[in-house]
Every structure is written in structure tokens, then in C-alpha cells.
Symmetry: C2
């Protein structure tokens, strides 16, 4: 993923040059006429705070909403906060319902109410429909701009009905067939309509055995359905099968990207919305918290070492070698942890295959523990000319690697069961385990052999 894709750097440099030389009119023209809003958003995300603010102020007010919807949550928030309800309405005019709702959801409730009352009745109704569902559910993801038809009309009538539109909503790959009471009946894929005899009815060609999404389905499940069945859009219904709207693949792609980023970022104590160019103080504060949590782990490890200070005083080689034991455990454990967290995200891991998985990790731990124990023991014996030391470190590595892989596999399962995010808490807890067990095993064995 480390390719230099989307490298807008020549553009950024040209903009930087233009800004440095004060050619603001030129920059303004480039932003407001030359570039698609996606590129402007990308440019903002690739700019340090000061340049970012300058750029933002140059965007025409009515284009700001277009750009906003492509920004990450972190940065959206910065600029949304500075808008009053009127500015918000100007900026978001013409956006799709789900995108307006997404932006609104970031604002405090009082502002949301102010914005809603200023909207016209139809828009308000639509946005409220989306807002009534949590952001991370199908309902929060859906769009209300569906084209609905009845089952008893002919294809020819449908075609004439469509021709009365100025344009069809984006990503329209199928028409939704509903009853008189707006109950969902089926879908008519446009590609199927195009190859059908114009004189037959919708009922004869429509698809009733299609994927229908309940409004309260979590968005990651929606993403999995889209991925699995190569969907472009899917209807969203409530518990009574009343059609509420539809979800389109472009919004699902965002969910997939965010979900996939989540594990990576969480394992380093970061948020998946993290702004690459977030300002110094915000960055320092957020990271300080994570450092503090990890410091507790480190102190715990130190406390364990402290128990054995007499042993270390006697055999200083222990201090030299002890990081090896902890580090090998940490690496082995984090490999297992990563595999299990990803396997859980992909839905691979269930109660029926967990025993096999734990068993495999145990055997892998024994094999790799033994292999590297022999290597490290050999090096230790040659280095310090001390057979006992070789035996002690070898045994400690076997113990720590087995504990590490079992903890790496079990921790995410336990955390998930406790409804704690395994990607966030898993790595800290794992390090605690591998440090404590590693130092305890190594120094404990050493105390037995050298001090008794």
C-alpha cells in the first residue's frame, strides 16, 4: 500500500509556490474552477494546518460542502465548527441526503435543530429519516433518492416514466419495486430491463430473491454483503419491509477503507480518522495518553525485574540478555495477535474453530520456541562461557514464546467477548504479558540456579 499513488505533489508545489509569491487569485482560480472537489479535499488533507486554513478560506462558500464530504472526520470537524447554520445550508445545497446527514451528525444537537428548521419540508424529512439511525448502521449509510416503480406496469411504461426524469440518481443500477403501501417487493436491474421485451410487466422480470438490508444492520456487515455479492446498490427496509432508501457502493467503499484502517491504527493507539497533519498540541496530547498507558506496562515489567535485583547483581549477564527473552515473546505474540484480529474482522473465527486455532498456536509456539531457544542458548554459552546461563535463557524463551502465542490468540477473543476493542487493547495487554512472563521466567530460573 506504500505506492506513490495519488501523488498530487506537483500540484501542491505549484499551489505552494503560488501562495508563497502571494498569487492568491491564481490559487483561488485553480481551486474553484480547475479541480474536482475530491482533489481539493485531498489537497487539504495533504497540507499542514496553516496552508490548509488558507486554502479553505479560498474555496467558494457554495463549493465548501462538496469538498467537506470528502474530508476525513477529524478535518471535517474543524471547518464544520466554524460554520453557522446558514453557512452550513449554503455549503451543503445539492449534496445527497446521506452526505448531509453525515456532516450534520458531527455537529452539536442544538445546531442540528437550527439547520433542520431552516431546510425545506421535503429535505428535512429525508435528512431526519437518515439521522434517526446511528451513523454506523445501514440506516445511517442510506440514501433516500430511490426510483420506485409498481410491479403491474410494463417495461415500456417504465422506460417512458424514466425518460421524464432530467437525470437518474447516481449509482442507479436497479429500480425498486414497491407495493401501493411502499412495501418492498423486489428489484428490477436496469441491465435486465434493457434486454427484456418492452411489453411484459415488471412482475415477470423483477428479482424478488435479492439482498435486502434492514436499517439497523451494522455498517461492517453491510460492507461484507456488498463485497461478497459484488453489489452496486441495495434496498434498505424497516422491520415492516417498508422501503426506506438504498445504499450505494461508493459509501460502502468508505466503510471498507475505514474498517480496514481501524485495526492498523488502533494497534498503535491511534484513531482511523487521524489527520496526517494534525497540529502539534493535538498530536502531542493524543499520543501522550497512549504513552502513559504503556508506561504502566513498562513499570510493571520493571517491578518484576526489581524483585530479582540480587540475582542480577551477582550475574550481570542476566541484565545483558534479559531484553532478548521479552522481545522474542513480544514478536511471536504480536504475530498471532495480528492474525487473530484480522481473522475476526473477516469473520473467519467462531467458537467451533477456536480450539483448533489455539492448538495450532500452541504447537507453533513449542516449535519456534525450541528452535530459537537452542540458537539463543548457544550464543549465550559462547558469549559468557556459562552452560547454566544457556540452559536458563533457553528454557525462558520456550516458556515465553508458548505463553505469548497463546495470549496472542486468546486475548482478542476474550476482549471481544468483553466488548472491548481487541485492536486497541490487545497490543498493550500482550506486551504486559510477554514482558512480565519473560522477565519472571528468565530471572526466576536464574535465581533458583545461581542463588540456591
Amino acid at each position: 500500500m506504500a505506492s506513490d499513488n495519488q501523488d498530487t505533489s506537483p500540484l501542491i508545489e505549484r499551489l505552494n509556490d503560488a501562495m508563497d509569491s502571494g498569487a492568491f487569485a491564481q490559487v483561488r482560480r485553480m481551486i474553484n474552477r480547475g479541480l474536482p472537489p475530491q482533489d481539493v479535499a485531498h489537497l487539504l488533507e495533504s497540507s499542514p494546518p496553516k496552508e490548509r486554513d488558507l486554502l479553505w478560506q479560498m474555496i467558494d462558500p457554495e463549493l465548501q460542502g462538496d469538498v467537506l464530504q470528502y474530508l476525513s472526520d477529524d478535518i471535517q470537524m474543524i471547518y464544520l465548527k466554524r460554520m453557522n447554520p446558514e453557512e452550513f445550508l449554503t455549503a451543503t445545497e445539492g449534496l445527497e441526503t446521506d452526505d448531509i446527514a453525515d456532516l450534520l451528525q458531527q455537529l452539536p444537537d442544538t445546531i442540528i435543530q437550527e439547520v433542520l428548521v431552516s431546510m425545506d419540508a421535503q429535505d428535512r424529512h429525508r435528512v431526519e429519516a437518515v439521522l434517526s439511525y446511528p451513523e454506523d448502521t445501514a440506516g445511517g449509510l442510506m440514501n433516500t433518492d430511490t426510483i420506485t416503480i409498481r410491479a403491474d406496469i410494463t417495461i415500456d411504461v417504465v422506460m417512458r416514466y424514466l425518460r421524464r426524469h432530467q437525470s437518474l440518481p447516481e449509482s442507479t443500477d436497479s429500480l425498486l419495486v414497491v407495493s401501493r403501501k411502499d412495501h418492498f417487493i423486489g428489484v428490477l436491474p436496469i441491465t435486465r430491463m434493457l434486454v427484456s421485451d418492452p411489453n411484459i410487466t415488471v412482475r415477470e422480470v423483477m428479482d424478488t430473491d435479492c439482498i435486502v438490508i434492514k436499517a439497523d444492520m451494522p455498517d461492517s456487515e453491510v460492507a461484507n454483503l456488498f463485497e461478497k455479492f459484488d453489489l452496486i446498490s441495495a434496498p434498505v427496509v424497516d422491520d415492516d419491509d417498508t422501503l426506506l432508501g438504498r445504499i450505494t457502493i461508493d459509501d460502502v467503499v468508505d466503510v471498507i477503507r475505514e474498517d480496514a484502517d481501524h485495526s492498523l491504527m488502533s494497534m498503535a493507539g491511534l484513531d482511523e480518522d487521524e489527520d496526517t497533519f494534525s497540529p502539534v498540541l493535538l498530536t502531542a496530547r493524543r499520543r501522550a495518553v497512549w504513552l502513559g498507558i504503556n508506561l504502566l506496562t513498562a513499570f510493571l515489567a520493571s517491578a518484576v525485574i526489581g524483585i530479582f535485583d540480587e540475582t542480577i547483581e551477582k550475574v550481570v549477564a542476566l541484565a545483558v540478555l534479559m531484553p532478548i527473552v521479552a522481545s522474542m515473546g513480544g514478536i511471536a505474540g504480536s504475530q498471532t495477535l495480528t492474525v487473530v484480529i484480522r481473522g475476526m474482522a473477516l469473520g473467519h473465527i467462531s467458537s467451533s474453530n477456536t480450539p483448533w486455532l489455539l492448538n495450532r498456536e500452541l504447537i507453533v509456539g513449542v516449535i519456534n520456541g525450541t528452535l530459537w531457544a537452542v540458537v539463543v542458548a548457544g550464543v549465550a554459552v559462547l558469549w559468557f562461557n556459562d552452560l547454566t546461563l544457556g540452559f536458563i535463557i533457553g528454557a525462558a524463551i520456550v516458556i515465553n514464546l508458548i505463553v505469548a502465542v497463546l495470549a496472542g490468540a486468546a486475548l482478542p477473543l476474550i476482549l471481544k467477548w468483553m466488548k472491548i476493542d481487541p485492536a486497541l487493547a490487545g497490543s498493550v495487554l500482550l506486551t504486559t504479558v510477554t514482558d512480565v512472563i519473560g522477565f519472571m521466567a528468565f530471572l526466576g530460573l536464574a535465581t533458583v540456579f545461581y542463588l540456591s
Copy 2:
């Protein structure tokens, strides 16, 4: 991402029960008639090797290709290797060109040739077109099943032409307009065709200002274009603008998922195709390599400690506290590393904003280094009742945190410039830096203060 989406566990349990009780006929029926191939693939991916092999053998030969295309590369390989060219042809009959090419690409060249000669001329020609481009480019990703039209005919003629088809290719959201010599001219979005007057020509409504993809564009760039412009499909052309095929969003979603997984998995020395249930020996061998590489790092750290063994012998508290210095550096560095690797993947980081980024990291390192140095120094003074020790560890933490964040930011940039995968090599190198600098600063300062 740790939700229990796609939880097929009840299904797996039913299958397990059926298998345990030897009800193979029932399992076979469930797999071959009840389940979509995506679910069968998911079931295979969620099964340990023995159950997986049993399940695979129960899949009807002509369904195996359908299932294969949804499996991850690792598992595909296992079953592809066992097929002879005839079985491959039976299994892949009816698959799309790009999917057949994807599967073929995993096989040795001699087998590819054998399969190609057994294909009929048209299919061979199509598959060869895709195979002639690397798997990770637009050409390797494309499909050749395009519907092409001429610019000078009317919409009505297009509609009648379409009606002569049995069905249209999947994810057909637009028709591709080409010249007599197959040069790409523009696209006619189906939704636009449907709202157009049937008597006007394609030329009048087609879109010539659309995204066109060159066959040699890297797949991650293709994914970024699709994501940025909410595309469902896009035409692929060669350097002469001759139309070669089209790329559809379903294949792009797989690229997005794989790219996003890559950073997560690589940072733990794993492959993004890693099979959650890979067998013991394969797992042990792969992980052993990564442990070995990290062991070198650990030995290096030990060697640094070894230099200062006299100091440690004198002040054993140093051995107790030294993991804290290394660990704080490791955490701070890996946060920066993760942010930068992700920022690079998103195309945020360029030469013009790198100085700002390094500067921010430096300041964040100073702030957080100072903050936690004070805390750790305070604890150390209280714990060991030694002011000098507090000063030494505080100074070492400030030094190590600053070096850590700078290394975390600079390493991925340097590695990328050297064309080495930053996600894979970055974390090992970073640990080396934070361990060596951490121990060196702490124990070095201690030697100056206690031994002189």
C-alpha cells in the same frame, strides 16, 4: 472492525455436526445446492486444514472455479496445484476473463500454456490479453466483456441492439463508444441513455471527459481513482487509446481490501494473503523467519547493554529501569511510523510537506519526552532514593523519544526511496533504533555519572 459480521458459525457448526455424524450426503447437498459460492469460500477459509480438504472434495467439479475465485491467494494455490489442465478448464468454465486470468497466474508457466491451448480461440485470446499485463496493474485487473457502440447511431438503435442480448455483462453501468478501429472515444452512461430522447445520436449525449485508465497503471492507483470519483466501471486502453477492456468496482474493492490489509499484516512480518488456518508447519516456518530477523535486533540491543556491564554491576537499579527507556521509545516511534506509513498510502505525504511533518514530530517528541521524563524521573527518585538516577533516566527518555519520532517519520520515507516496503522493514528497523539509542543513552549517561 472487530464486529462479529459474517458470522457463519451456526452454519459451520451444522456442517461440523453433519460431518461428525458422517452425514456427508447432507453436507454435499448443502454445499452444492444451498449455498452461494461466496459462502462456500468463506466456509473453507473458516475451516482448519482437515475439514477444509473434506469440504473441498465435496464441491462439484464444475462449481470449484466459482468457489476458487473467492478464496484468498494462499488457499487458491493449495487447490489449484492439485488440478490438471482439464480439471482447471471444467472448474473455470463460465467465469469472467479476469477471474480466469487471476487463477491461471498462480500456476507454473508450463501449466498455463497447457490450459491455454485447450481453450477455444476466443477465450484464449481474451485470457492472453489479460495475462500479458502484470497482475497488479490495470491490465491484469481488467475484464474484456465490454459492450461497445459507435457514436453516429441513435439511442433508439442502441436500445434495440441491447435487446438482442440474452443478458448484459455484470456491473455494466455504461456502454463504451469506439471508433471503427476500436479507438476509445467516450462512454454512454446507461442512466443518461435512459433519460435521453431516443432519436438523438450517441455522440450528442456521450461523455468524452471521463476517467480512462491506461493498462499499465498500478492497481492501487486504479483503486484511488475509483474511490475518489465514485466509479462503478472504467474503460482500459493501451498507449494508442485502443480499448482493451474495463475494470469494475467489485475487483477494485478487493484491491482496496488487500492494500489496506497489507500495512497491518506487514508490520507483523505477515503476508496480506495469510490464511487464518494455515497448517502448523507452514505457519511455524514463516514466523520463524521473522523471529530470526528480530532476534538480530535483540542481540544488537544486548551487545549495547554488554558494553556497560560494569556500570550495571555497580548500580543494579539501572537494569531494573532500562526497559522503560527502550519501551517508551518503541511506542512513540511506532505511533509516528504508523501515521506516516498510512499517510504515504493515502498519498498525503510529498516532498513539499515532509519538512513540516518532521518538524512537528520533533516538537511532539520534545513535548512528550519532557512530560514523561519528569514522571519517570520522579518515580525513579522515589523508588531508589537516588536523585542522579532520576536525572539520568529523564535525560535518556527525552533523547530516546526525540530520536524515536524522527526515526518513525524518516525511516518509511527513506525505505520508500530505496524501494523497500516500509510496512515490512520499518518496524524492525525502528525497534533497532529505539533499543540501541535507548540503552546507549541511559547506560552511557549512567557510566559518566557513576563511574567517573
